[in-house]
Symmetry: C2
Subunit: 337 residues, 2 copies
Amino acid sequence: MALDEARIGLAHGNGGRYMRELIQEVFARHLGGGVLDTNLDACPLPALPEGEVVFTTDGFTVQPLEFPGGDIGSLAVHGTTNDLAVAGAKPLYLSLNVFIEEGLEVEVLDRIVSSLARAAREAGVQVAAGDTKVVRRGEGGGLYLATTGIGVRRHGLRLGMELIQPGDQLLVSGSVGDHGICVMLAREQFGLSGELLSDAASVFPFTSALLDYPGLRFMRDPTRGGLATVAHEIARASGLSVRLDETRIPVRDTVRSVCEMLGYDPFYLACEGRVVAVLAPEAAQRALAAWQALPGGDDAAIIGQVDAEGRPVVIETELGGRRMLEELEDDPLPRIC
Amino acid sequence: MALDEARIGLAHGNGGRYMRELIQEVFARHLGGGVLDTNLDACPLPALPEGEVVFTTDGFTVQPLEFPGGDIGSLAVHGTTNDLAVAGAKPLYLSLNVFIEEGLEVEVLDRIVSSLARAAREAGVQVAAGDTKVVRRGEGGGLYLATTGIGVRRHGLRLGMELIQPGDQLLVSGSVGDHGICVMLAREQFGLSGELLSDAASVFPFTSALLDYPGLRFMRDPTRGGLATVAHEIARASGLSVRLDETRIPVRDTVRSVCEMLGYDPFYLACEGRVVAVLAPEAAQRALAAWQALPGGDDAAIIGQVDAEGRPVVIETELGGRRMLEELEDDPLPRIC
């Protein structure tokens, strides 16, 4: 780091020399070497592979900026590439918008951009365009990011909630609620965060494993609003009922204990590296085996099924009863992504 | 507007019912009808036209959010589509990130999204993906936007500062500094803003008019840092000297008066609807005639040329002298885009 200042000032966003230095010494240093050219107004992309182009975007305001298992930088890669992955695409390129609040330590920014670059390499995507703005102290939250992603999927791939039928099975690729609880613990400094890491990661290995299954109907990553919200989206779009089996939904012990202590329901908490998939019954067992064979897939499980009749989302409890999962109205844990 | 609340609250960003309402009643209402589907994780794009795909992004933090001749919404369309246009591309699709500060009036947001939608229609682009975050009061500036654009340009089109040669001519498509002064006046409420409108607009008609000229070397829109900054970028990248002719650079009377009163130099002020183009001498007159024939092109002018030797950027003054234009170090007017 050869930047003269320890903290970002307004001049780092004004289009002049300070800004050029910041771009060169932080952004280009970590993100350069590929297609990114910080001297261009717009970046030409190498010819895209054959297939349908898909496009998505996400904004990131997580607090704190760094937490066990990740930070706002790696999250900005995973959040957007995962939206491409669950649409059945291979993520290829990202753009990156940075809104820095005056006073942010340059060292923190550097660490976050470095982590973002590492996550992009791991996810197989390149940052191909970027922009930085600096806002005055008291007009930002330290750092906000936005990423927009381009991916390509096989022509003719059909996935969608409207394809879901009664009898279809719901799978989840791993334990739920890790990210939400991990960020909450990092924020509140309960001194409990010890072993729990955010699940934030690329889900592309999980989504791509299922793309050739004829019985694959739909995939979604349970982020804001968690598993319960995905279940409600499925119920609303399909007009069917989603029945979950509480005993089969993987929840880590730490997450379960914190939820019991503080009164949270883990099924509403955000994951940032999990997939929910809906498959025809004949394909579900094979999909489960494929997921369990992947690194990080040990906890994958079949967690429920779709019924023709019933309340939108019901859950069969450990004691053999049933309760409804209501639609989320008020987020118990804001600013987790 | 059927939203119950007059102001945006944190619940409008939490992934639940309030957020769904906001998305439906503000964003989908103005931006729907095309490829945008707010129920998808990622939007499939119709087959792109033959050519090279180009990609760019920009963030917007202008204050005030609305000003004569535009607002942060229309600016978010023009800023990004103009970066595609000066790269020689036809803008096709945008993504939109919205960071709303708790307390923003829903009516203001609705007006801005409506203006953004209108600017997109005029620029011939569709918003194909979006995301909304709400941050706490005191952690935002009312509204920040980011847009990422996809465009396509002819295969084999070569444009770049490295192509510029001694003798090449510089053109500008209209008066400079209107946007910077207009926003400054709107902010400071000098009561002077009367007739001056921001120049914010799509430059695609101007850029596309020149794409078939063999002598076209390079185009850029003089935004942050203005005309002087573009001249410095050309000088730095080409190793040549840019000589501007002060008497030929179009500056509106209001802009000139305000600059004289307040000590600004109009050549450093942002434009959001102008292009600087560099052309071989034999192509320059024809390009000028083409621009002057376009709506809004009356003030287009040849404003200087590129010399083999000399200081990076010099300007010949009205009195027949010469002065250097220094590189911008500290922006006289921050937050104008």
